[in-house]
Protein backbone atom coordinates (compact mmCIF):
# COMPACT_ATOMS: atom_id res chain seq x y z
CA UNK A 1 0.00 0.00 0.00
CA UNK A 2 2.78 2.35 1.01
CA UNK A 3 4.72 1.33 -2.07
CA UNK A 4 1.74 1.87 -4.28
CA UNK A 5 1.37 5.31 -2.81
CA UNK A 6 5.02 6.05 -3.29
CA UNK A 7 4.87 4.95 -6.88
CA UNK A 8 1.93 7.19 -7.57
CA UNK A 9 3.64 10.07 -5.80
CA UNK A 10 6.74 9.64 -7.93
CA UNK A 11 4.66 9.62 -11.09
CA UNK A 12 2.76 12.71 -10.03
CA UNK A 13 5.97 14.54 -9.23
CA UNK A 14 7.46 13.54 -12.54
CA UNK A 15 4.31 14.71 -14.27
CA UNK A 16 4.39 18.06 -12.57
CA UNK A 17 8.07 18.48 -13.36
CA UNK A 18 7.41 17.54 -16.95
CA UNK A 19 4.66 20.11 -17.24
CA UNK A 20 6.99 22.76 -15.85
CA UNK A 21 9.49 21.89 -18.52
CA UNK A 22 6.81 21.84 -21.17
CA UNK A 23 5.68 25.28 -20.09
CA UNK A 24 8.60 26.77 -21.96
CA UNK A 25 7.16 25.42 -25.17
CA UNK A 26 3.91 27.25 -24.48
CA UNK A 27 5.86 30.44 -23.92
CA UNK A 28 7.47 30.07 -27.31
CA UNK A 29 4.17 29.30 -28.96
CA UNK A 30 2.77 32.38 -27.28
CA UNK A 31 5.58 34.55 -28.57
CA UNK A 32 5.33 33.20 -32.07
CA UNK A 33 1.55 33.56 -32.08
CA UNK A 34 1.67 37.14 -30.86
CA UNK A 35 4.36 38.10 -33.34
CA UNK A 36 3.13 36.05 -36.21
CA UNK A 37 -0.28 37.60 -36.65
CA UNK A 38 0.92 41.16 -37.15
CA UNK A 39 3.98 40.05 -39.08
CA UNK A 40 1.72 38.20 -41.46
CA UNK A 41 -0.28 41.38 -41.98
CA UNK A 42 2.96 43.24 -42.53
CA UNK A 43 4.15 40.92 -45.23
CA UNK A 44 0.86 41.28 -47.04
CA UNK A 45 1.92 44.82 -47.74
CA UNK A 46 5.69 44.59 -47.95
CA UNK A 47 7.49 42.04 -50.04
CA UNK A 48 9.72 39.77 -48.07
CA UNK A 49 12.47 40.26 -50.64
CA UNK A 50 12.48 44.01 -50.07
CA UNK A 51 12.47 43.42 -46.36
CA UNK A 52 15.57 41.28 -46.54
CA UNK A 53 17.52 43.05 -49.26
CA UNK A 54 16.65 46.73 -49.21
CA UNK A 55 19.48 48.69 -47.64
CA UNK A 56 17.32 51.42 -46.15
CA UNK A 57 14.95 51.35 -43.20
CA UNK A 58 12.70 54.39 -43.27
CA UNK A 59 9.18 53.24 -42.38
CA UNK A 60 8.56 56.40 -40.39
CA UNK A 61 9.47 58.72 -43.21
CA UNK A 62 7.35 59.84 -46.07
CA UNK A 63 9.39 57.87 -48.54
CA UNK A 64 9.24 54.42 -47.00
CA UNK A 65 11.80 51.69 -47.26
CA UNK A 66 11.51 48.48 -45.30
CA UNK A 67 14.98 46.99 -45.46
CA UNK A 68 15.80 45.40 -42.11
CA UNK A 69 19.54 45.19 -42.90
CA UNK A 70 20.52 48.53 -41.36
CA UNK A 71 18.89 47.53 -38.06
CA UNK A 72 20.68 44.21 -38.16
CA UNK A 73 23.95 45.93 -38.83
CA UNK A 74 23.38 48.14 -35.79
CA UNK A 75 22.52 45.20 -33.56
CA UNK A 76 25.45 43.22 -34.86
CA UNK A 77 27.93 46.01 -34.35
CA UNK A 78 26.92 46.94 -30.82
CA UNK A 79 26.83 43.28 -29.85
CA UNK A 80 30.29 42.61 -31.22
CA UNK A 81 31.69 45.54 -29.29
CA UNK A 82 29.92 44.46 -26.13
CA UNK A 83 31.17 40.89 -26.24
CA UNK A 84 34.65 42.05 -27.15
CA UNK A 85 34.58 43.84 -23.83
CA UNK A 86 32.65 41.35 -21.73
CA UNK A 87 34.08 37.99 -22.69
CA UNK A 88 37.72 38.66 -21.91
CA UNK A 89 36.99 40.71 -18.82
CA UNK A 90 34.35 38.29 -17.58
CA UNK A 91 36.49 35.24 -18.12
CA UNK A 92 39.60 36.80 -16.62
CA UNK A 93 37.64 37.94 -13.57
CA UNK A 94 36.11 34.50 -13.22
CA UNK A 95 39.49 32.80 -13.39
CA UNK A 96 40.91 35.27 -10.96
CA UNK A 97 38.07 34.84 -8.51
CA UNK A 98 37.97 31.08 -8.76
CA UNK A 99 41.69 30.27 -8.86
CA UNK A 100 43.65 33.16 -7.45
CA UNK A 101 41.56 35.18 -5.07
CA UNK A 102 41.19 34.36 -1.42
CA UNK A 103 37.83 33.07 -0.31
CA UNK A 104 37.27 36.31 1.49
CA UNK A 105 37.97 38.44 -1.53
CA UNK A 106 35.66 36.30 -3.61
CA UNK A 107 32.78 36.51 -1.20
CA UNK A 108 33.20 40.27 -1.09
CA UNK A 109 33.57 40.93 -4.80
CA UNK A 110 31.11 38.51 -6.32
CA UNK A 111 27.99 40.12 -4.91
CA UNK A 112 29.40 43.51 -5.84
CA UNK A 113 29.74 42.36 -9.43
CA UNK A 114 26.25 40.98 -9.32
CA UNK A 115 24.93 44.38 -8.33
CA UNK A 116 26.37 45.73 -11.57
CA UNK A 117 23.87 43.54 -13.34
CA UNK A 118 21.03 45.07 -11.39
CA UNK A 119 21.58 48.71 -12.21
CA UNK A 120 18.65 49.60 -14.46
CA UNK A 121 19.79 49.79 -18.04
CA UNK A 122 18.36 53.27 -18.32
CA UNK A 123 21.12 54.34 -15.97
CA UNK A 124 23.72 52.66 -18.10
CA UNK A 125 22.29 54.47 -21.09
CA UNK A 126 22.92 57.85 -19.50
CA UNK A 127 26.26 56.66 -18.23
CA UNK A 128 27.20 55.89 -21.83
CA UNK A 129 25.87 59.15 -23.19
CA UNK A 130 27.04 61.58 -20.53
CA UNK A 131 30.18 59.93 -19.20
CA UNK A 132 31.71 57.45 -21.63
CA UNK A 133 31.00 59.25 -24.91
CA UNK A 134 32.68 62.53 -23.85
CA UNK A 135 35.76 60.61 -22.70
CA UNK A 136 35.88 58.67 -25.94
CA UNK A 137 35.47 61.88 -27.91
CA UNK A 138 38.67 63.14 -26.35
CA UNK A 139 40.50 60.01 -27.42
CA UNK A 140 38.94 59.56 -30.85
CA UNK A 141 38.53 62.85 -32.68
CA UNK A 142 35.54 62.90 -34.97
CA UNK A 143 33.56 60.52 -32.83
CA UNK A 144 29.94 61.45 -33.16
CA UNK A 145 27.97 62.28 -30.02
CA UNK A 146 25.86 59.23 -30.71
CA UNK A 147 27.70 56.15 -31.83
CA UNK A 148 27.92 52.39 -31.51
CA UNK A 149 31.18 52.35 -29.60
CA UNK A 150 30.12 53.95 -26.37
CA UNK A 151 26.90 51.98 -25.78
CA UNK A 152 28.71 48.86 -26.99
CA UNK A 153 31.36 49.27 -24.33
CA UNK A 154 28.85 50.07 -21.62
CA UNK A 155 26.74 47.09 -22.62
CA UNK A 156 29.89 45.03 -22.32
CA UNK A 157 30.41 46.36 -18.82
CA UNK A 158 26.83 45.50 -18.01
CA UNK A 159 27.02 41.87 -19.16
CA UNK A 160 30.46 41.25 -17.69
CA UNK A 161 29.10 40.26 -14.28
CA UNK A 162 26.84 37.66 -15.85
CA UNK A 163 29.74 36.10 -17.67
CA UNK A 164 32.04 36.38 -14.67
CA UNK A 165 29.65 35.08 -12.07
CA UNK A 166 28.32 32.11 -13.99
CA UNK A 167 31.75 31.13 -15.28
CA UNK A 168 33.11 31.32 -11.77
CA UNK A 169 30.38 28.99 -10.56
CA UNK A 170 31.26 26.49 -13.24
CA UNK A 171 34.96 26.63 -12.39
CA UNK A 172 34.28 26.35 -8.72
CA UNK A 173 32.52 23.06 -9.38
CA UNK A 174 35.56 21.46 -10.97
CA UNK A 175 36.80 18.79 -8.56
CA UNK A 176 39.82 19.70 -6.46
CA UNK A 177 41.52 16.45 -7.46
CA UNK A 178 41.95 17.71 -11.01
CA UNK A 179 43.74 20.81 -9.85
CA UNK A 180 45.96 18.77 -7.57
CA UNK A 181 46.88 16.52 -10.46
CA UNK A 182 48.04 19.50 -12.46
CA UNK A 183 49.82 21.27 -9.61
CA UNK A 184 51.72 18.10 -8.85
CA UNK A 185 53.14 18.23 -12.36
CA UNK A 186 54.60 21.65 -11.66
CA UNK A 187 51.91 23.69 -13.33
CA UNK A 188 51.58 27.32 -12.38
CA UNK A 189 48.23 28.60 -11.23
CA UNK A 190 47.68 30.08 -14.61
CA UNK A 191 48.43 26.82 -16.36
CA UNK A 192 46.08 24.95 -14.06
CA UNK A 193 43.39 27.49 -14.74
CA UNK A 194 43.85 27.76 -18.46
CA UNK A 195 44.53 24.14 -19.33
CA UNK A 196 42.60 22.16 -16.77
CA UNK A 197 39.92 24.18 -15.01
CA UNK A 198 38.65 26.14 -17.98
CA UNK A 199 38.36 23.11 -20.30
CA UNK A 200 36.73 21.08 -17.54
CA UNK A 201 34.23 23.86 -16.90
CA UNK A 202 33.70 24.55 -20.56
CA UNK A 203 30.01 23.85 -20.72
CA UNK A 204 29.27 26.22 -17.87
CA UNK A 205 31.50 28.90 -19.32
CA UNK A 206 29.91 28.53 -22.73
CA UNK A 207 26.49 28.87 -21.15
CA UNK A 208 27.53 32.10 -19.48
CA UNK A 209 28.87 33.42 -22.79
CA UNK A 210 25.66 32.62 -24.56
CA UNK A 211 23.61 34.34 -21.91
CA UNK A 212 25.88 37.35 -22.17
CA UNK A 213 25.66 37.53 -25.94
CA UNK A 214 21.93 37.16 -26.02
CA UNK A 215 21.64 39.89 -23.49
CA UNK A 216 23.71 42.15 -25.69
CA UNK A 217 21.58 41.34 -28.72
CA UNK A 218 18.41 42.06 -26.79
CA UNK A 219 19.60 45.07 -24.82
CA UNK A 220 17.36 47.99 -25.49
CA UNK A 221 17.59 51.05 -23.31
CA UNK A 222 21.33 51.63 -23.55
CA UNK A 223 21.37 51.68 -27.32
CA UNK A 224 18.12 53.58 -27.52
CA UNK A 225 19.65 56.37 -25.47
CA UNK A 226 23.26 56.44 -26.55
CA UNK A 227 23.50 55.07 -30.08
CA UNK A 228 21.31 57.64 -31.79
CA UNK A 229 18.33 56.57 -33.83
CA UNK A 230 19.54 56.52 -37.36
CA UNK A 231 19.17 53.19 -39.12
CA UNK A 232 22.30 52.94 -41.15
CA UNK A 233 23.92 50.11 -43.00
CA UNK A 234 27.41 50.45 -41.65
CA UNK A 235 30.01 48.70 -39.57
CA UNK A 236 31.65 51.94 -38.56
CA UNK A 237 31.37 52.17 -34.78
CA UNK A 238 31.92 55.93 -34.75
CA UNK A 239 28.64 57.09 -36.27
CA UNK A 240 25.06 57.01 -34.96
CA UNK A 241 23.00 53.95 -35.75
CA UNK A 242 19.92 52.10 -34.60
CA UNK A 243 19.38 48.55 -33.38
CA UNK A 244 16.29 46.41 -33.79
CA UNK A 245 15.43 46.70 -30.13
CA UNK A 246 15.91 50.45 -30.07
CA UNK A 247 13.54 50.70 -32.99
CA UNK A 248 10.91 48.66 -31.19
CA UNK A 249 10.91 50.89 -28.10
CA UNK A 250 11.01 53.96 -30.24
CA UNK A 251 7.76 52.95 -31.87
CA UNK A 252 6.25 51.48 -28.69
CA UNK A 253 6.66 54.82 -27.01
CA UNK A 254 5.95 56.92 -30.02
CA UNK A 255 2.95 58.41 -31.73
CA UNK A 256 2.58 56.04 -34.65
CA UNK A 257 -1.08 55.30 -35.31
CA UNK A 258 -1.97 51.73 -34.53
CA UNK A 259 -3.08 49.41 -37.28
CA UNK A 260 -0.91 51.13 -39.84
CA UNK A 261 1.95 49.59 -41.69
CA UNK A 262 4.39 51.65 -39.63
CA UNK A 263 3.02 50.12 -36.47
CA UNK A 264 3.27 46.61 -37.84
CA UNK A 265 6.95 47.11 -38.52
CA UNK A 266 7.70 46.56 -34.86
CA UNK A 267 6.28 43.08 -35.05
CA UNK A 268 8.17 42.32 -38.22
CA UNK A 269 11.31 43.65 -36.57
CA UNK A 270 10.55 41.68 -33.41
CA UNK A 271 9.97 38.55 -35.43
CA UNK A 272 13.27 38.98 -37.25
CA UNK A 273 15.04 39.47 -33.96
CA UNK A 274 13.38 36.35 -32.65
CA UNK A 275 14.37 34.34 -35.70
CA UNK A 276 17.94 35.54 -35.52
CA UNK A 277 18.35 34.77 -31.84
CA UNK A 278 16.71 31.43 -32.51
CA UNK A 279 19.24 30.53 -35.17
CA UNK A 280 22.14 31.83 -33.08
CA UNK A 281 21.03 29.85 -30.09
CA UNK A 282 20.60 26.66 -32.00
CA UNK A 283 24.08 27.00 -33.40
CA UNK A 284 25.56 27.65 -29.99
CA UNK A 285 23.50 24.84 -28.52
CA UNK A 286 25.07 22.33 -30.86
CA UNK A 287 28.49 23.80 -30.35
CA UNK A 288 28.10 23.42 -26.64
CA UNK A 289 26.95 19.83 -26.98
CA UNK A 290 29.94 19.05 -29.09
CA UNK A 291 32.52 20.52 -26.78
CA UNK A 292 31.03 19.50 -23.55
CA UNK A 293 33.36 17.45 -21.45
CA UNK A 294 31.78 15.41 -18.75
CA UNK A 295 33.63 14.89 -15.56
CA UNK A 296 32.72 13.25 -12.35
Amino acid sequence: MHKQFQWIKERIIEGVLFLSALFSIFVTIGIVAVLFFETYEFFKEVSIVDFLTDTQWTPLFDEKHFGILPLFAGTFLTTIIAIAVALPIGLISAIYLSEYASARFRTAVKPALEVLAAVPTVVYGYFALLFVTPILQKIIPGLSGFNALSPGIVMGIMITPIVASLSEDAMHAVPMGLREGAYALGATKFQVAARVVVPAAFSGIAASFILGISRAVGETMIVAIAAGQQPRLTLNPLVPLETITAYIVQVSLGDTPTGTIEYKTIFAAGMSLFVVTFVLNIVSYWLRKKFREVYE
Binding site: P175, A182, A200, E293, Y295
Partner: protein, 251 residues
Amino acid sequence: METSFRISKLSAYYGPKEAVRNVNMEISKKSVTAVIGPSGCGKSTFIRCLNRMNDLVTGFHIKGEILYDGKDIYSDDSDVIDVRRRIGMVFQKPNPFPKSIYENIVYGLRIQGINKKDILDKTVEESLNKAALWEEVKDRLHTSALQLSGGQQQRLCIARAIATQPEVILFDEPCSALDPIATAKIEDLITELKKEYTVIIVTHNMQQAARVSEHTGFFMLGELIEFDTTQKIFTTPSNKMTEDYITGRFG
Protein backbone atom coordinates in the same frame (compact mmCIF):
# COMPACT_ATOMS: atom_id res chain seq x y z
CA MET B 1 74.06 7.51 0.75
CA GLU B 2 73.14 11.06 -0.13
CA THR B 3 70.27 12.74 1.62
CA SER B 4 67.31 13.93 -0.39
CA PHE B 5 64.97 15.30 2.26
CA ARG B 6 65.99 16.40 5.71
CA ILE B 7 62.90 17.02 7.78
CA SER B 8 63.15 18.58 11.19
CA LYS B 9 60.48 19.27 13.79
CA LEU B 10 57.74 19.22 11.20
CA SER B 11 54.23 19.84 12.50
CA ALA B 12 51.31 20.36 10.15
CA TYR B 13 47.96 21.99 10.90
CA TYR B 14 44.57 22.27 9.25
CA GLY B 15 43.55 25.51 10.88
CA PRO B 16 43.82 24.73 14.59
CA LYS B 17 43.82 20.94 14.08
CA GLU B 18 47.25 19.34 14.31
CA ALA B 19 47.50 16.48 11.79
CA VAL B 20 51.24 15.84 11.92
CA ARG B 21 53.34 16.40 15.01
CA ASN B 22 57.04 17.03 15.39
CA VAL B 23 58.42 14.72 12.73
CA ASN B 24 62.16 14.34 12.20
CA MET B 25 63.26 12.26 9.28
CA GLU B 26 66.00 11.92 6.72
CA ILE B 27 65.22 10.45 3.32
CA SER B 28 67.93 9.05 1.10
CA LYS B 29 68.35 9.74 -2.57
CA LYS B 30 67.64 7.02 -5.10
CA SER B 31 65.90 4.73 -2.69
CA VAL B 32 62.36 3.89 -1.79
CA THR B 33 60.98 5.09 1.51
CA ALA B 34 57.64 3.75 2.67
CA VAL B 35 55.23 5.46 5.03
CA ILE B 36 52.79 3.20 6.82
CA GLY B 37 50.27 3.62 9.57
CA PRO B 38 46.56 3.29 10.35
CA SER B 39 43.91 5.29 8.55
CA GLY B 40 43.77 8.96 9.51
CA CYS B 41 47.25 8.96 11.07
CA GLY B 42 48.48 11.77 8.84
CA LYS B 43 50.31 9.85 6.15
CA SER B 44 48.74 11.82 3.33
CA THR B 45 49.21 15.07 5.16
CA PHE B 46 52.86 14.31 5.69
CA ILE B 47 53.64 13.34 2.14
CA ARG B 48 51.75 16.35 0.78
CA CYS B 49 54.03 18.60 2.80
CA LEU B 50 56.98 17.36 0.80
CA ASN B 51 55.91 18.98 -2.45
CA ARG B 52 53.92 21.77 -0.83
CA MET B 53 50.69 20.31 -2.16
CA ASN B 54 48.93 21.37 0.99
CA ASP B 55 49.61 25.03 0.18
CA LEU B 56 46.34 24.74 -1.71
CA VAL B 57 44.31 23.98 1.40
CA THR B 58 43.22 27.20 3.02
CA GLY B 59 44.12 27.36 6.68
CA PHE B 60 46.88 24.81 6.29
CA HIS B 61 50.30 25.68 7.68
CA ILE B 62 53.38 23.96 8.95
CA LYS B 63 55.99 24.48 11.61
CA GLY B 64 59.50 23.17 11.35
CA GLU B 65 61.70 22.76 8.32
CA ILE B 66 61.91 20.60 5.24
CA LEU B 67 65.23 20.72 3.43
CA TYR B 68 65.35 19.26 -0.04
CA ASP B 69 68.80 19.01 -1.57
CA GLY B 70 69.89 21.20 1.29
CA LYS B 71 67.42 23.97 0.52
CA ASP B 72 64.39 24.84 2.61
CA ILE B 73 61.43 24.27 0.30
CA TYR B 74 59.21 26.47 2.45
CA SER B 75 61.61 29.41 2.49
CA ASP B 76 60.60 32.61 0.77
CA ASP B 77 63.03 32.27 -2.09
CA SER B 78 61.98 28.73 -2.84
CA ASP B 79 59.77 28.44 -5.88
CA VAL B 80 56.75 26.26 -5.26
CA ILE B 81 56.25 25.56 -8.97
CA ASP B 82 59.79 24.38 -9.24
CA VAL B 83 59.45 22.27 -6.12
CA ARG B 84 56.44 20.51 -7.57
CA ARG B 85 58.07 20.04 -10.92
CA ARG B 86 61.02 18.32 -9.31
CA ILE B 87 58.89 16.37 -6.88
CA GLY B 88 56.09 14.59 -8.71
CA MET B 89 53.05 13.02 -7.11
CA VAL B 90 50.46 10.31 -7.64
CA PHE B 91 47.31 10.48 -5.57
CA GLN B 92 45.09 8.15 -3.64
CA LYS B 93 42.01 8.77 -5.81
CA PRO B 94 42.75 8.68 -9.52
CA ASN B 95 42.36 12.17 -10.98
CA PRO B 96 42.73 12.11 -14.75
CA PHE B 97 41.96 15.36 -16.55
CA PRO B 98 38.77 15.34 -18.60
CA LYS B 99 40.84 15.11 -21.76
CA SER B 100 42.14 12.36 -23.97
CA ILE B 101 44.57 9.79 -22.63
CA TYR B 102 47.27 11.29 -24.82
CA GLU B 103 46.69 14.81 -23.56
CA ASN B 104 46.78 13.64 -19.97
CA ILE B 105 50.26 12.24 -20.42
CA VAL B 106 51.73 15.16 -22.31
CA TYR B 107 50.21 17.83 -20.08
CA GLY B 108 53.35 18.07 -17.96
CA LEU B 109 55.47 18.54 -21.05
CA ARG B 110 53.18 21.03 -22.68
CA ILE B 111 53.21 23.30 -19.67
CA GLN B 112 56.99 23.27 -19.93
CA GLY B 113 56.62 24.45 -23.50
CA ILE B 114 57.46 21.14 -25.14
CA ASN B 115 55.15 20.65 -28.09
CA LYS B 116 57.17 18.67 -30.64
CA LYS B 117 55.01 15.83 -31.79
CA ASP B 118 57.73 13.21 -31.96
CA ILE B 119 58.91 13.91 -28.41
CA LEU B 120 55.37 13.82 -27.12
CA ASP B 121 54.56 10.60 -28.95
CA LYS B 122 57.67 8.97 -27.61
CA THR B 123 56.98 10.09 -24.06
CA VAL B 124 53.41 8.84 -24.23
CA GLU B 125 54.45 5.40 -25.31
CA GLU B 126 57.29 5.13 -22.82
CA SER B 127 55.33 6.37 -19.86
CA LEU B 128 52.33 4.20 -20.61
CA ASN B 129 54.59 1.22 -21.03
CA LYS B 130 56.25 1.84 -17.71
CA ALA B 131 52.85 2.19 -16.08
CA ALA B 132 51.77 -1.12 -17.61
CA LEU B 133 48.93 0.49 -19.49
CA TRP B 134 50.18 0.77 -23.04
CA GLU B 135 48.76 -2.47 -24.32
CA GLU B 136 45.30 -1.69 -23.04
CA VAL B 137 44.97 1.80 -24.42
CA LYS B 138 47.27 2.10 -27.40
CA ASP B 139 44.32 1.96 -29.82
CA ARG B 140 42.40 4.65 -28.08
CA LEU B 141 44.94 7.23 -27.06
CA HIS B 142 42.66 10.01 -28.21
CA THR B 143 39.52 8.96 -26.39
CA SER B 144 38.57 10.49 -23.08
CA ALA B 145 40.51 9.29 -20.06
CA LEU B 146 37.32 9.33 -18.04
CA GLN B 147 36.08 6.20 -19.77
CA LEU B 148 38.82 4.06 -18.27
CA SER B 149 38.10 1.87 -15.27
CA GLY B 150 39.33 2.98 -11.86
CA GLY B 151 42.48 0.92 -12.08
CA GLN B 152 43.24 2.05 -15.56
CA GLN B 153 42.73 5.65 -14.50
CA GLN B 154 45.21 5.29 -11.67
CA ARG B 155 47.81 3.77 -13.90
CA LEU B 156 47.27 6.62 -16.29
CA CYS B 157 47.98 9.06 -13.45
CA ILE B 158 51.19 7.23 -12.71
CA ALA B 159 52.19 7.40 -16.35
CA ARG B 160 51.39 11.11 -16.30
CA ALA B 161 53.66 11.69 -13.32
CA ILE B 162 56.52 9.74 -14.86
CA ALA B 163 56.25 11.59 -18.14
CA THR B 164 57.85 14.74 -16.78
CA GLN B 165 60.85 12.89 -15.33
CA PRO B 166 60.89 14.44 -11.88
CA GLU B 167 63.67 13.82 -9.33
CA VAL B 168 61.36 12.53 -6.64
CA ILE B 169 58.04 10.79 -6.98
CA LEU B 170 55.58 10.76 -4.12
CA PHE B 171 53.00 8.00 -4.19
CA ASP B 172 49.96 8.33 -1.96
CA GLU B 173 48.52 4.82 -1.85
CA PRO B 174 48.92 4.48 -5.58
CA CYS B 175 47.78 0.88 -5.68
CA SER B 176 44.68 1.06 -3.60
CA ALA B 177 42.56 0.95 -6.75
CA LEU B 178 44.65 -1.63 -8.57
CA ASP B 179 44.41 -5.39 -8.89
CA PRO B 180 47.37 -7.57 -7.91
CA ILE B 181 48.71 -7.91 -11.41
CA ALA B 182 48.86 -4.21 -12.04
CA THR B 183 50.10 -3.72 -8.49
CA ALA B 184 52.97 -6.07 -9.14
CA LYS B 185 53.83 -4.15 -12.26
CA ILE B 186 53.82 -0.89 -10.40
CA GLU B 187 55.97 -2.38 -7.70
CA ASP B 188 58.43 -3.53 -10.34
CA LEU B 189 58.31 -0.08 -11.82
CA ILE B 190 59.06 1.50 -8.46
CA THR B 191 62.03 -0.77 -8.04
CA GLU B 192 63.08 0.29 -11.52
CA LEU B 193 62.55 3.97 -10.74
CA LYS B 194 64.72 4.09 -7.70
CA LYS B 195 67.78 3.69 -9.91
CA GLU B 196 67.21 7.23 -10.99
CA TYR B 197 64.64 8.73 -8.69
CA THR B 198 63.92 9.13 -5.04
CA VAL B 199 60.60 7.43 -4.27
CA ILE B 200 58.38 7.94 -1.26
CA ILE B 201 55.32 5.78 -1.02
CA VAL B 202 52.40 5.90 1.37
CA THR B 203 50.72 2.55 1.63
CA HIS B 204 48.28 0.71 3.81
CA ASN B 205 49.67 -2.55 2.50
CA MET B 206 52.50 -3.68 4.74
CA GLN B 207 53.58 -6.39 2.36
CA GLN B 208 54.00 -3.77 -0.27
CA ALA B 209 56.11 -1.65 2.02
CA ALA B 210 58.21 -4.67 2.86
CA ARG B 211 58.62 -5.64 -0.80
CA VAL B 212 59.56 -2.32 -2.34
CA SER B 213 61.18 -0.08 0.24
CA GLU B 214 64.58 0.33 1.81
CA HIS B 215 63.32 2.48 4.65
CA THR B 216 59.98 2.57 6.39
CA GLY B 217 58.43 5.14 8.64
CA PHE B 218 55.54 4.18 10.88
CA PHE B 219 53.06 6.90 11.77
CA MET B 220 50.39 6.92 14.39
CA LEU B 221 48.10 9.76 15.43
CA GLY B 222 50.25 12.20 13.52
CA GLU B 223 53.50 11.17 15.09
CA LEU B 224 56.40 9.34 13.52
CA ILE B 225 56.70 6.40 15.91
CA GLU B 226 59.61 4.69 14.29
CA PHE B 227 61.79 5.21 11.25
CA ASP B 228 64.42 2.74 10.19
CA THR B 229 65.48 0.36 7.47
CA THR B 230 62.57 -1.67 6.25
CA GLN B 231 64.30 -4.84 7.27
CA LYS B 232 64.67 -3.64 10.82
CA ILE B 233 61.10 -2.36 11.04
CA PHE B 234 59.64 -5.62 9.82
CA THR B 235 61.91 -7.95 11.74
CA THR B 236 63.03 -6.28 14.94
CA PRO B 237 61.13 -3.07 15.51
CA SER B 238 62.35 -1.23 18.56
CA ASN B 239 58.97 0.23 19.42
CA LYS B 240 56.18 -1.88 20.90
CA MET B 241 53.50 -0.05 18.94
CA THR B 242 55.25 -0.67 15.66
CA GLU B 243 55.51 -4.31 16.48
CA ASP B 244 51.87 -4.54 17.40
CA TYR B 245 50.83 -2.81 14.20
CA ILE B 246 53.11 -4.91 11.99
CA THR B 247 51.85 -8.11 13.47
CA GLY B 248 48.26 -6.93 13.22
CA ARG B 249 47.82 -7.08 16.97
CA PHE B 250 46.18 -3.74 17.66
CA GLY B 251 43.31 -1.68 16.34
